[in-house]
């Protein structure tokens, strides 16, 4: 599933922050230069990510609608939890350790 913000959208948010809020505060020439290079590199990452096709989210939509309709057979929670854990491995890998 293509989670929001997507990886591309996150890269864009970082670019905006660095260019808009950090770059103007840098007085050191070398730091400014390296920040501009870093922003270029980040732009490459963002454009490359834009080419990645979004993942299929039809299954998640269907599951969400089914639960909303009150159709929650045994095993639903285990299935949902496993999927959330998978997303956490990307979004916040150390978080799962807090449940060990």
């Amino acid at each position: 599933m293509s989670e929001r913000p997507t990886a591309e959208e996150l890269a864009e948010a970082i670019e905006e922050f660095l260019a808009g809020e950090v770059l103007p505060t840098l007085d050191d020439h070398r730091a400014r230069f390296r920040m501009l290079v870093a922003l270029n590199a980040l732009g490459i990452v963002r454009r490359e990510l834009a080419k990645v096709p979004p993942e299929e989210e039809a299954e998640q939509r269907e599951l969400a609608a089914q639960i909303r309709a009150g159709d929650v057979p045994a095993g639903t929670l285990a299935r949902v939890k496993a999927h959330v854990a998978e997303r956490l491995l990307i979004a916040s890998p150390h978080y799962l350790e807090r449940y060990e």
């Binding site: 948010a13 998640q60 599951l63 929670l77 949902v80």
Partner: protein
């Protein structure tokens, strides 16, 4: 801009120190100023769009006044200013103490803090609602509507909503609630609770819901083993609250509303990310909440598992 602001403030407060913008606060600005030897804080509307279900600064000021009159530990409200350099604002006392959750849970935690939290909540829940006629009632049905507005599939949140519908305890008479009562919105010093801040989410609701909000894992700031905001157990807190209010709230109700608090915050993460994605308020901090909401979804699954859901 600071010059205009200062002129308006000096017209009402007399000579003041140079206003200093304090960090934090995505939707509201906080300026520290001193006037005639008094430490003051100017809370001013931010530039972004005011989101739904939050009070205007005028109404927030009125709630603060009512709380202060009733003896709730809050910063003393000083005055409301309809136009402070183009935005509404109010002035209140600037309390001394710690508000940063991570530092508070690191300790040493004042021993009486859980009981003090219960005592302040009991006072808040006794505020006369007739005095605050603008407060609206919020039901948990609103949560599903808020999720629908985000228009993303989140089965874990749906499961939480489903469980909340299936297991709703008998409703209690709505009272005035703070709406965001948790570590992070409380000023703490060595002696314990100094003041309750951030009243913008005040509304009318089941008191058990407000009582349970500080149990939500995200507001334990990493001290996960201490269910009450990373600073204590829920037992003494609940006992003291019941003793003062006579509401007789049961531990199962805390469990129920703890799930509700997590569901609310999981949706809150998504709506905060929407503020960034829609361009209303571009910010990395808001953006990343869209992904960190998965932590809260995992906690919802964990809590439901403990309730016997499979």
């Amino acid at each position: 801009m600071i010059a205009d602001m200062r002129e308006t403030l000096e017209a009402v407060l007399g000579p003041i120190s140079e206003p200093v913008l304090l960090p934090g606060g995505a939707s509201k600005e906080a300026w520290a100023v001193d006037a005639s030897g008094e430490r003051l804080l100017v809370r001013r509307a931010g530039g972004g769009v005011i989101h739904r279900h939050t009070l205007t600064l005028r109404h927030e000021f009125e709630v603060l006044q009512a709380a202060h009159e009733a003896g709730v530990k809050v910063p003393r409200p000083v005055l409301y200013i309809a136009d402070l350099d183009g935005r509404e604002a109010f002035v209140m006392e600037r309390l001394e103490g710690e508000t940063i959750g991570r530092r508070i849970v690191r300790g040493p935690v004042p021993e009486r803090l859980p009981v003090q939290m219960a005592e302040e909540l009991a006072k808040i829940h006794a505020l006369p609602r007739e005095q605050l006629p603008f407060l609206e009632e919020a039901t948990i049905d609103r949560l599903a509507d808020e999720l629908d507005e985000v228009a993303e599939p989140h089965p874990a949140i749906e499961l939480g909503l489903w469980w909340l519908r299936e297991n709703r305890p008998p409703p209690r008479e709505p009272v005035v609630v703070h709406g965001d009562f948790r570590i992070g919105n409380l000023v703490i010093d060595d002696g314990g609770l100094v003041g309750v801040l951030d009243w913008e989410f005040a509304h009318l609701d089941d008191p058990a819901r407000d009582l349970s909000f500080s149990l939500v894992r995200a507001w334990r700031f990493g001290a996960d083993d201490l269910r009450l905001g990373g600073i204590g157990d829920a037992e003494g807190y609940l006992e003291r609250y019941n003793e003062l209010t006579g509401f007789g709230i049961r531990p199962e109700e805390l469990d129920y509303w703890e799930v509700a608090g997590n569901v609310g915050w999981a949706i809150g993460c998504l709506t905060q990310a929407q503020r960034h994605l829609t361009g209303q308020d571009r910010s990395v901090e808001l953006a990343i909440l869209g992904r960190l909401g998965a932590e809260v979804e995992y906690e919802i699954c964990h809590l439901l598992e403990r309730q016997g859901v499979t």
